[in-house]
Every structure is written in C-alpha cells, then in structure tokens.
C-alpha cells in the first residue's frame, strides 16, 4: 500500500491537498450551499427556518413586498432596494476617493530614493496593521460634536473672531464615507506602488527624449503601466466596502444602513435568517459580477498578492 503510494504522484497530490480541501468544503462550500437553500425558505413565527421553495425573499429585496400595511397582497416597498443602491454607490464613491488619495502617495514612494522607499512603505503598513475596530473608534473621537475636528475648528474660529457652532458630523453618510476611505486606503497604496515601482526609468527618459512633457508622459506611460495596480487595489477595496458593517454601524448610527448591516440584523436582531441569506447571496453576486467584468477588462497579476 505504502509502496503503491510512493509511485502514484496523483495520489500523493490528493493526500497533500486533502486536509485543506476538506476544510474549505466544510466551512466554505457547504455553508454557501446552505445559505442558498435557506434563502429560498421562509421564517416560521418562532424564528426557525421552514424549508420551501419561495422567491419571496428575493422579491422583497428588490421592492416587491408581500407584507403590506394596507392588507393588499402586493405592494411596492423600496426600503431594501434603496439599501442595495446605497451600498453600491458608497462602494463606488469610496473606491474613487481612495484611488485619488492613494495614487499620488504611491507615485511619491515609487519615485523616492530607493533607500528611503522602505521607510515610506513602513509608514503605510502601521495604520494598515492597526486593528480595524480601533481605527473606526479613532474616527468616532475625531468626528463627535465635542470631538477633535470641532475643537480645532473652534480654535480657528476664535482666532478669526467669528462665531462657531460645532458641526454635526458623526452619524452622517459623510462620516461613513470618510471611515471607509480611511480603513481601505492602504489596500490601494500597496498594489499601485508595486506596479509603479516596476516601471523602468529608461521609459521616462525615452518619453522625455521624444519630446513628451510631464503630463503627456504621465498619461501615455505611467498611467497605462500602473493600471494593473489600480485594478488589484479596486478589488481589494470595493469588495470589503460592499460587505463591511462596522463602519456604518459605529459612524453612521441608525442613519446609514448598508447591506452588511441589513444582513447582520437579520441574523442577530430581527431573526429572519432566510431573508438575511438572500441578501447575503445578492451581495456575493453583485461583488462577483463587478470583479469579473472589471478584471476581464483590465486584468491584474501579482499586484493583488503584494498587498
């Protein structure tokens, strides 16, 4: 038996990969299948799952409610569709903002003296490795009515002798946007840096020799060659922004509800796992579609590993 195994390369490979494959089967594939099955089920009055085949949960997500106030069989309730739309636009806006902030910094690090590059990268890693929840908390301290930003604005107003009423920044959509941008900024800086760093200096020299000015060089040389980094960064930012619920929970309060909050509440507060499962599958499908078309159009390579 042992001798046969020694000669059979295929069996060796299977054995080596078996623990991981079984683990992923049990804790990823089977849970995903269970989520799918449950999403077609219904909630019993005592909060358990009744297995059935009903697409009510999905209809509800897109606005077709069967649970109407006026006693009608069907009515339009855009609440959940609005949550889906809000999550998509927030993920889009955060990603665009993150690119705009990350690109100049990544460019600066890539063009810095090689000896200093590691120090600048190190400075990006510290906030990245600081715990996610702690970083949300930091923004809570900054944005509160009596928080640091309002204190500083108050000082400036006092110095200029103008009256100042503290701004209400916490628990607004803007606070959630800032929080998301802050949380995921390093995930964009690192892959863009990786692709910028690979660009050979001779390319810049060639562009300059051929008479291109710095704007033209950027548009024709730098930007196209750094696209793989931007694409990898976008995937690393867009997917988690779509699914994160802590940022909106802490910085948005009850004002900004995203699909992540919706799912979390269905499982813990509202106790309708069937509806939560449907929302979770829609979330997964949305991110897969975006990732698929985005990567097919631009493609990315090792940049995603770099981060």
């Amino acid at each position: 038996m042992l001798k046969r195994l020694r000669e059979n390369k295929s069996a060796q490979g299977t054995l080596l990969a078996l623990p991981t494959t079984l683990w992923m089967l049990a804790l990823l594939i089977i849970p995903l299948i269970l989520t799918t099955i449950i999403s077609f089920g219904q909630r019993s009055p005592d909060g358990n799952v009744i297995y059935s085949f009903s697409i009510d949960n999905y209809l509800r997500l897109f606005g077709f409610s069967t649970n109407c106030d006026n006693g009608a069989a069907n009515c339009f309730d855009p609440l959940y569709a609005q949550i889906l739309w809000r999550s998509l636009t927030l993920a889009f806006n955060s990603t665009v903002l993150v690119i705009m902030l990350a690109y100049p910094l990544a460019y600066f690090i890539a063009r810095a003296h090689p000896k200093k590059r590691n120090t600048f990268l190190f400075m990006v890693l510290i906030p990245l490795w600081t715990n996610f929840v702690i970083r949300v908390y930091a923004w809570m301290m900054l944005l509160r009515t009596q928080g640091v930003i309002n204190i500083v604005l108050g000082w400036i107003a006092a110095a200029l002798h103008i009256s100042f009423t503290p701004l209400e920044m916490l628990y607004t959509p803007g606070a959630v946007l800032v929080g998301m941008v802050y949380e995921f900024l390093p995930f964009m800086i690192l892959p863009i840096y990786t692709s910028l760093e690979k660009i050979d200096n001779s390319l810049y020299e060639a562009a300059a020799d051929l008479g291109a000015n710095s704007i033209k060089t950027f548009l024709r040389v730098t930007l196209p060659l750094s696209m793989p980094g931007v694409v990898a960064g976008t995937i690393l930012v867009f997917i988690p922004v779509m699914g994160t619920f802590i940022v909106s929970d802490i910085l948005g309060g009850r004002q900004v509800i995203l699909i992540g909050n919706l799912i979390q509440r269905q499982f813990l507060d509202a106790r309708d796992p069937t509806f939560g499962s449907a929302a979770s599958l829609i979330l997964m499908i949305m991110t897969l579609i975006v990732t698929y078309f985005y990567t097919r159009k631009f493609g990315f390579g090792e940049e995603i590993v770099a981060a």
Partner: protein, 297 residues
C-alpha cells in the same frame, strides 16, 4: 531628467495623505492619557507623583501610575485580560494548523497534478473574492443547523450542549487563513527551480529526504511569512469572529466593538495604544530583518 524630481503637487498630496493616515491614530494615543473618565474632551494629562487629582470636576485619589493611570486600570480589567487570552489562544492554534495544512496544499498545487485540483484551487480562491460577511453568516448557519440536529439527536442538554465558543472560532479562522498561507507559500515555490528537487532525487534521496533537506529549507521563509500573515489576520479579525463566537470566547476586537456601543472610558484608548505600539514594534522588527536579508543577498 532627474528620476527623483518631485512636483509640488505630489509632495503636497503626500503630506496630506500621511496626515490623514496618522492624525486619527495620534489623537487616539493622546486621549489614552486623558485626565477624564468621561473622555469627551481632553482635560490634560494625569499628573505623576500627586496625592489627589481633579477628575471631571471632583477630587479623586491619584493612582500610583500617574499619567499611565488608564493602562494600570486596563491591566486590572478581567474582561480585557480574558479577551486578550482568547485572542492569542485562537491566533496561535489557528496559525499552527493553517500553516501546516496550507503549506501541504501549496506543495500539492505547485508540484502535483491530481483530479480534485481544480476544485481545491477554486475553494481557495473564493474567500478572497467574496465579502467576509457572506462567509461569516454561512458558517453561522452551518453551526446552528448542525448543532441543532446533533443536540436533539443525542439529547444533549446543559453543559454538554454543542454551542458556539472558542472551538468554532478557531475552526472558522483556519478556513479564512488557509488561502492566504497557500498563496504565499505557492509564490515561494514558484520562485525556485524544480531542478534542485530532481537533482536530490537523482542522487538517491527519497521524497521525504528531498522534502526535508531541499524543499523545506528553501520554502521556509515563505512558510514563515505565510504564518505571520495568518497570525495577524487572526488577531485582527472581526467579522468571522463576530458570527462564530459565543459566551466566553470574546476576542479583543469584539470586546472593543461592544464598548463602542456603550460607554467609552480612556481604557479603550489605552488598549488601542498598547495594540498600536505592539504593531509598530512587530512591523519594525520585520522591516529590519528584511533589510538585513536583502543586504546579505
């Protein structure tokens, strides 16, 4: 053209982005020395070597820790210490298991062909492209359905009932850590020539000797950085832990999250400061080790 030439726009943007990255962290640290339990505004530092201090308008007995008062309170806080113990137990156990099985899988993916390879590869790729919450609620559903069936089938009651706890958190952490370990080790395996292994085999070494003497020493840096990545992912994880922890298996991120929804004393800031300092030291050490390695090559 000077390759290190800097435009004023890039420089200004760089300063701005670094300020954006660090201002919140610095504020967080500053407030961990706040002489106010309410922690709403910064009331100044707690004086050292003083008998009594005015805190939030009333005179209280000064602690022997002086400015580090909140750090001492933190060390006395049983909930925090339990959460820290849980966090480390989970991270160590899950890292050891995920590093071993992840390295095995990486070798299989890189060096062997077998029937279920496409399936293994797909299952390792999925966690990277789906939001964590999808995996989290999937695992929660699995455990609640499974435990429900088992508890009623074997009439388990009271303490022997299967429920969410340290075990479920560890098992779930491994599931999201393994893909990253495999990815890192695979990248390392790609980087070195198969010819070394073939040479060892030609010289009469069997598979096990080849692995121990050739493959393993060469992939060791990859295995270690994979393990380190897995460890930090586990320490940092909120979402998967949120859905799989039970009473008695609270981790630090879960504990902090719970506090944020209630009352926030400077203890939370002190905890954050300790965490940030540790992260800083770990990243710094890694950076120094990496630089030294790069210089040697």
């Amino acid at each position: 053209m000077n390759p290190f030439r800097r435009s004023p726009f890039i420089l200004a943007a760089t300063v701005l982005v670094y300020t954006f990255l660090y201002a919140p962290i610095l504020v967080l640290i500053l407030y961990s020395f706040n002489a106010s339990k309410a922690n709403v505004t910064f009331e100044g530092f707690i004086p050292a070597f003083s008998q009594n201090v005015v805190m939030d308008g009333s005179l209280v007995k000064a602690s022997p820790c002086g400015p580090f008062h909140w750090f001492c309170e933190l060390a006395k806080n049983r909930e925090v210490m339990d959460a820290a113990k849980n966090t480390l137990t989970i991270a160590f156990t899950a890292t050891i298991i995920s590093t071993i099985i992840g390295t095995m899988a990486a070798i299989a993916m890189q060096r062997y062909d077998f029937k279920m390879k496409p399936f293994s590869q797909l299952s390792l790729y999925i966690p990277i492209v789906i939001p964590e919450i999808v995996m989290g609620i999937g695992i929660l559903t699995l455990f609640s359905q499974l435990f429900g069936v088992l508890n009623s089938a074997f009439h388990l009651t009271g303490g022997s009932r299967l429920a969410l706890g340290l075990g479920t958190v560890i098992v779930s952490h491994i599931a999201f850590m393994v893909p990253f370990v495999t990815l890192v080790v695979q990248a390392r395996l790609q980087g070195f020539d198969k010819a070394y292994e073939e040479a060892a085999m030609d010289l009469g070494a069997n598979e096990w000797i080849t692995f121990r003497r050739v493959t393993f020493p060469m992939i060791l840096p990859g295995v270690l950085s994979g393990a380190l990545l897995a460890f930090t992912l586990s320490l940092d994880d909120f979402v998967i832990t949120f859905f799989t922890n039970g009473p008695g298996s609270t981790t630090l991120p879960i504990y902090v999250y719970g506090l944020l929804r209630r009352i926030i004393t400077p203890q939370v800031n002190a905890l954050s400061t300790v965490w940030i300092t540790l992260v800083f030291l770990v990243v710094l050490t890694l950076q120094i080790v990496q630089n030294r390695e790069a210089k040697q090559q």
